[in-house]
């Protein structure tokens, strides 16, 4: 099924209606979700009003992890089958993924101050998300630095795959480190234990973030395809203008 859309031409056809669908879907879901989470939902008993940060924070962290896993999978596809579309998908996911990681870190530390009394703690989860941010930076830097496109895609794919294998190790090791040396463990409200009026806006926001991620990726891929085409055969108008100069 996926190989059908591995043809760039067919992918452009698909993206023509999938892109707007994802984009408008994201806009509607996020508007609804933001209204629900910031205005309509009640403050939570233990956290009070600060619980509203959760609706921005938790889906951002989910999306950051999901985006990186998608990059790793796309990189594997690109590495094994050398398909340019997989490359473009991985590359387009990187910046939104890094932005979600940064959002999760920033909102997390803003939430940490009122709730735990500190902006930052060297806790397993925070540290591993910060590391994830640097892995994103490194991945994007490879694309920036290596000039030859084909080589850049191979090297970036290798980087992405190694980075992914390291994520569980980072999480696991730092949790170990913490349980050995710090008794204070921060537990997030788990979704099953979450009341319905909190769960609905959270799920709306999560869906909205996912749709937004999808929309940005499709847009990024379309831009990449257009750039690749423009490089191969410059538009007649552009050529004429260049000749006129």
């Amino acid at each position: 099924m996926f190989s059908r859309f591995a043809n760039p031409q067919r992918f452009v056809g698909l993206a023509r209606w999938l892109g707007p669908l994802l984009g408008w879907g994201a806009l509607v879901t996020l508007t609804l979700g933001l209204w629900q989470s910031l205005i309509a939902s009640p403050p939570e008993a233990e956290h009070g009003e600060t619980v509203r940060i959760m609706y921005v924070h938790v889906p951002a962290a989910w999306s950051a992890m999901a985006a990186y896993s998608a990059i790793a999978i796309a990189s594997l596809v690109s590495f094994v089958w050398r398909h340019p579309l997989a490359d473009m998908a991985a590359r387009s996911l990187a910046l939104p993924g890094a932005a979600f990681t940064a959002l999760a870190l920033i909102t997390g530390s803003l939430w940490g101050k009122p709730d735990w009394g500190t902006y930052w703690q060297w806790d397993g989860r925070m540290t591993s998300v910060l590391v994830l941010f640097f892995i994103y930076v490194g991945y994007m830097a490879i694309w920036q630095v290596v000039e030859d496109r084909k080589r850049a895609s191979r090297l970036a794919a290798i980087t992405a795959m190694i980075g992914w294998v390291n994520i569980p190790i980072i999480k696991f090791s730092v949790e170990w480190w913490n349980t050995l040396h710090q008794s204070a463990t921060v537990s997030m409200p788990e979704s099953p234990g979450l009341a319905m009026e909190l769960l609905v806006p959270l799920m709306l926001m999560a869906t909205g973030y996912t749709l937004l991620l999808g929309w940005l990726t499709v847009r990024g891929m379309l831009a990449e395809i257009a750039t690749a085409r423009a490089a191969r055969c410059p538009a007649p108008a552009a050529t004429a203008r260049m000749e006129a100069l």
Binding site: T127, F134, V146, T159, I162, S173
Partner: protein, 217 residues
């Protein structure tokens, strides 16, 4: 073939081309600066500082891992001479460990004295560095191979390698810290050894793939 590459690298190092001296000077300077900035001897922070010093000087040295040989065409020559990428990567890792990592480990006890560390603490730090050395080498090798075609990959090398080395750094320091009380048979030392194994298992194939990609395959 591996032996030939290894001997060539060691000969180059013996003639001063590998920058071992620079790495050592950097490590010593780092410890000196730490001592000054932190206000004198810091026995409690010693293992952590020495691990940091060793890691940073290994990172600063990793642009000499494959880049010069890629630039001069030596890597291509080895390939044409029939050396597989695996053989090249293994030989290069061995020579990096011998010329870049082991000198740092040998220097660590002397620098530990500057930090005012006691005997068991120094032994623990050196042992943990030895157990962690394969991980340092393997991840340096991956980044070195990824950036082999880049002339100025220095900062990027640090950004790419540091996230991979974070677990090693954490457990290396922990293992050194618990050595004085609990000896070698601790969870920390075992995890550090496990991390080294994982690093080698991941790092060698990734190095081989990156070298192949930089060759244009």
């Amino acid at each position: 073939m591996m032996r030939a590459i290894l001997l060539r690298d060691l000969r180059l190092a013996a003639r001063g081309a590998s920058g071992t001296g620079l790495s050592l000077a950097f490590m010593a300077l780092f410890v000196l600066l730490c001592g000054l900035a932190l206000g004198g001897s810091q026995p409690a922070l010693g293992p952590g500082l020495l691990w940091l010093a060793a890691t940073l000087s290994a990172l600063l040295g990793l642009d000499r891992f494959y880049q010069p040989d890629q630039e001069t065409g030596a890597l291509a020559q080895m390939h044409h001479a029939g050396a597989s990428e695996t053989a090249i990567a293994t030989a290069k890792c061995l020579s990096f460990a011998l010329t870049a990592i082991i000198p740092l480990i040998l220097a660590a006890p002397f620098l530990a004295l500057l930090l005012g560390m006691d005997g068991p603490s120094i032994t623990g730090t050196v042992l943990s560095l030895i157990v962690g050395a394969p991980a340092l080498t393997a991840y340096a090798s991956v980044t070195g191979a990824l950036l082999a075609g880049q002339r100025s990959g220095g900062v990027l090398a640090v950004i790419l390698t540091a996230p991979l080395l974070i677990p090693v750094l954490i457990f290396g320091t922990e293992a050194a810290n618990v050595f004085a009380a609990d000896g070698l048979a601790t969870v920390q030392f075992r995890i550090l050894a496990g991390l080294s194994f994982i690093a080698v298992a991941l790092g060698l194939p990734a190095t081989v793939a990156a070298l192949a990609a930089n060759r244009g395959a």
